[in-house]
């Protein structure tokens, strides 16, 4: 009894200390810490090249390089959350030469950006830059969430693209199962123009509210769990990093949002084969490169029903599906990611890569403005 009282007193003291830290916003965990160079830049978009030094990660031991295309509604640091809990770090340690295409924070200059800007201009330019830096003739392309849709559209619209393989993670194709986020446009009849901000983009608060409506009680549960475990430094640290990311969205360019709603949500174009980019019909069956799709069985943001049909839509003879008992974030951060997701992706990529003798990743002089 006395021990229990003593433990409660100690925990309440720790709760008070951590509570003050949280409210004051001090001692925030560092995110996106893996060393990288900006090797290309256009508008708000940047191409990052992660350093794979011999002493830190063992150097580059696989070729061709891996290019990650990130989603357009959230921040890319989820893939490089914290040292020891980083998808990118694991890829580097496995010997890959890793690049990331980050879309930055769109503003009014990006409001007119259409999907073709990303699929026909930015991704091809980034691929060219990766080839130029690495001296390779191909890349392994990897798309995360909506970045997977962009990667799919790119691979389908450019069948001759220099791709060794394509992997996508939590990538929706059947938008009927995307929940209230899609339903307000599909069923409710809301127009994108009715949610855009003065800068012409869908503001981050709308994106955040959309995600919150997927699990309406999760917010309360989150605070209750925080109170219960506020005494634990480890929990508070992870809480700050994870909730910091899940509440941290970026504006979605207005024109691309209109196209997404019309083509992907209302027409369900991925599933019904009614895709068009820059006026060209695009067919996912034109994706012929070795293909991996990873889906999370407990994903409430991109439910498995929304991702499951993808494996049958691509035309790759060499195609694989990996189903994991994880949530959306659990695919890339945490224990499930470290134990299952990342090793499986690494194994898939290793089988489609050439072994090279260990060397540090090439560091280009500077980013092109």
């Amino acid at each position: 009894m006395l021990d229990r009282v003593r433990r409660d007193v100690e925990r309440n003291a720790l709760r008070a200390r951590n509570g003050i830290k949280l409210v004051a916003g001090v001692d925030r965990p560092g995110v996106g810490c893996t060393a990288k160079d900006v090797v290309w830049q256009r508008g708000r978009s940047q191409l990052w090249h992660y350093r794979n030094d011999l002493d830190a990660h063992g150097g580059v031991r696989h070729s061709p390089p891996l290019l990650i295309v990130f989603s357009m509604v959230s921040r890319s640091y989820i893939l490089d959350l914290q040292p020891g809990n980083s998808f990118v770090e694991q890829l580097l340690t496995a010997g890959f030469d890793v690049y990331m295409l980050d879309w930055g924070e769109p503003d009014e200059r990006d409001a007119q950006n259409r999907l073709e800007d990303y699929v026909d201009d930015y991704i091809p330019a980034a691929v060219d830059r990766v080839l130029e830096i690495s001296g390779c003739g191909e890349v392994n392309l990897f798309g995360y969430c909506f970045g997977g849709d962009l990667a799919l559209l790119y691979a389908a619209h450019h069948p001759d693209a220099p791709l060794r393989s394509l992997s996508v993670l939590a990538t929706p194709v059947d938008f009927r199962h995307m929940g209230p986020l899609a339903d307000i446009f599909r069923v409710g009849g809301l127009e994108v123009d009715q949610v855009v901000d003065v800068d012409g983009n869908v503001p981050p608060r709308v994106v955040l509210q959309g995600f919150k409506s997927l699990t309406p009680t999760a917010e309360v549960t989150r605070y209750v769990t925080l109170w219960e475990r506020l005494w634990s430094d480890e929990y508070v640290n992870a809480y700050q990093a994870m909730t910091g990311w899940s509440d941290d969205h970026v504006p979605f360019p207005g024109a691309a949002a209109r196209e997404t709603v019309d083509m992907l949500v209302r027409a369900n174009g991925m599933l019904t084969d009614r895709l068009a980019i820059a006026g060209d019909r695009v067919h996912l069956s034109d994706v012929r490169v070795p293909f991996l799709t990873v889906l999370a069985e407990r994903d409430h943001i991109v439910p498995p029903d929304a991702t499951a049909p993808l494996i049958d839509l691509v035309g790759s003879p060499d195609r694989h599906e990996l189903r994991l008992p994880a949530g959306h974030m659990g695919l890339v951060v945490g224990r499930t990611a470290a134990r299952t997701t990342v090793p499986t992706i690494i194994s898939f990529l290793e089988r489609r890569s050439d072994e090279v003798s260990p060397a540090p990743s090439v560091r280009p002089a500077a980013a092109e403005a």
Binding site: A111, D117, D121, P124, D128
Partner: protein, 130 residues
């Protein structure tokens, strides 16, 4: 592992009962229509106020917020065009450079074994399907 405190057990019990209903509610057509109606009402109110203030500013020959927004949109569109042209120019330069290198290589090969230069390396646009 210690058992959860009583207050937490009580919360979990309530949460397990409430959550499925709340999840179902947000996935009903009524919820989607309700959100749309709410948003349209908000917009109607906002546009009415903005329309009135815009008229007031125009009366004294000054631009209103909507005029500035329109200007920003036009500048944004122009910025996008320049950016796309820039990217396409960059791509063409790279391809021309690559083709030039290939042609040089091919000429060198011609001198030795008479091989013909190959076509440009990649990304020929497919014709649109019907």
């Amino acid at each position: 592992m210690s058992e959860a405190p009583l207050w937490r057990q009580a919360f979990d019990a309530v949460e397990h009962r409430v959550t499925p209903h709340a999840d179902r509610l947000t996935r009903t057509p009524g919820f989607a229509r309700g959100v749309t109606l709410l948003r349209r009402t908000q917009l109607l109110a906002r546009d009415t106020v903005q329309g009135a203030t815009a008229r007031a500013w125009h009366l004294v020959n000054l631009p209103a917020g909507s005029d500035v927004a329109r200007l920003r949109a036009q500048l944004g569109a122009l910025d996008r065009e320049v950016r796309r042209l820039n990217l396409q120019l960059e791509t063409e330069r790279r391809r021309a450079g690559a083709a030039g290198t290939e042609t040089d290589d091919a000429h060198a090969a011609d001198a030795t074994d008479g091989a013909r230069p190959g076509p440009p390396r990649r990304r020929a646009q497919r014709p649109p399907r019907a």
